[in-house]
Subunit: 307 residues, 2 copies
Amino acid sequence: MSARVFINEVAPRDGFQIERDFVPTAAKIALIDDLSPLGFAKIEATSFTSPKAIPNLADAAEVMTGIQRQPGVDYVALIPNEKGVERALACGTDELNFVMSASDSHGRANLRMTANQSLERFEHMVALADGHNVFINASISTAFGCPFEGEVRPERVLEIVARAQARGIQGVTLCDTTGMANPRQVASLCAEALSRYPDMALTLHLHNTRGMGLANAFAGYEVGVMRFDAALGGLGGCPFAPGASGNVCTEDLVHMFEQMGVHTGVDLERLLGVAEQLPTLVGHDVPGQVVKAGTSQRRYPLPDAIG
Amino acid sequence: MSARVFINEVAPRDGFQIERDFVPTAAKIALIDDLSPLGFAKIEATSFTSPKAIPNLADAAEVMTGIQRQPGVDYVALIPNEKGVERALACGTDELNFVMSASDSHGRANLRMTANQSLERFEHMVALADGHNVFINASISTAFGCPFEGEVRPERVLEIVARAQARGIQGVTLCDTTGMANPRQVASLCAEALSRYPDMALTLHLHNTRGMGLANAFAGYEVGVMRFDAALGGLGGCPFAPGASGNVCTEDLVHMFEQMGVHTGVDLERLLGVAEQLPTLVGHDVPGQVVKAGTSQRRYPLPDAIG
């Protein structure tokens, strides 16, 4: 177990992409600029995808070029295809986060590609980025289960990691896209991935769909995972799991780690200040807990009756 | 780690006691009767406390004598004092759950007693129960932190456990009364308590105030805790932590353990059926997640577009 973890804030991409109302470009930029000085390792700022597929992120280039880059923070964009690579590179994106699904039915539904087709495509996408100084990550959706197929075999996921690595991918994110993972499963798959591919930067992307988000993060941490995606306020979710909670909430995750004595680098107090503004920005309540309850350090005055 | 855990359903006591509206006695009895056949080890049915202190549980005797006892289930009552012992014994309660606070300021605020005073009182209360065939447990509030004082030293909690055992208490529940605990702390204190007092039945009582409820349950499980309190729907909370989530949600906890391959004895599908009725019973939404999202086994039809 490390005494340090690295947080990738994904709300601007994974959160805003499914909001009912378009978040204005200026508001997106302002939020990222508020988050940038708080100590995140990475901020996933947008996705260079088709505006038809995700209208909410049609302003990807404006966002990526409009933000104030903070030294030490890597600005990430989700990339579904070659065109996305070109658009992201043109904006000076620090990290390209390719996306694929471990399960073919989810891949077809979400990206119109099987896992094999995605991996072939990755080869061309990596080639396009060659010579640019970018980190290339691949997010593997449904790594812990598929809402259509059910179980996704760990061996299949591990094989995808190996094949991604062979194609020049430098990091992989194992995504519990619809919150199906449990702590034992997270511990088992992550321990195996870390042991087999020690050179591959491994990130966990967790959802709190069934309340297990922080339990899964703790389980991953315990077997050596040091990188975590999380979304401010617990924004996000999955169109295939309606009614469910969203991503693991950044401020709740940071709070848990800091309480455990694990350094996140993130300024929690300032983060909570930003999180407090989120319901106003998106126009609805969000699932985060710490912003409502205060941190574990919060003290209450003694009731009057007893002095 | 055991492949079996035991769940104590506490919503009828810890949940209903802080509801704004009195839950009618018949509805309390009906809920307990619905829960009784589902496989719980225990159900905390009520508290034999002063009706002035907790008006919502003024019907303790009616509830305890009105329910249909299921063989194999222990029906528990929370007991603050000698009078409570007498009332509970008169109703044939299976287990008396004495309550005290590890921190003196919380003890004074909640019970008008310091930890020392509570432990002295326990001696008389145990004596009163002598000769009756009842199990005697003590719930230690603020075992992981006090909303007034902050840190509660682990050594203080462990000493309380020892002194409770010396007074004839057969089981202790370490309570994270206001959801201040983190997984590392839970693992550490529980491991130490299990190691020092192997003959003492240890239960964890967790709140999800800051989103860490299931993470703490997993952490406790990993070091050998086999008994967990939980409340249907995640009802409950603490008057000293307003705005916060309540107890760890029973159906979410059972779901997590069953997904991990850990047997709870509880019929999750039927439990979810009961949980679905809870918002109607209490007149408000409740925090439970699995009842909204479905279990991790839930499958979705493929989107039409891709057949």
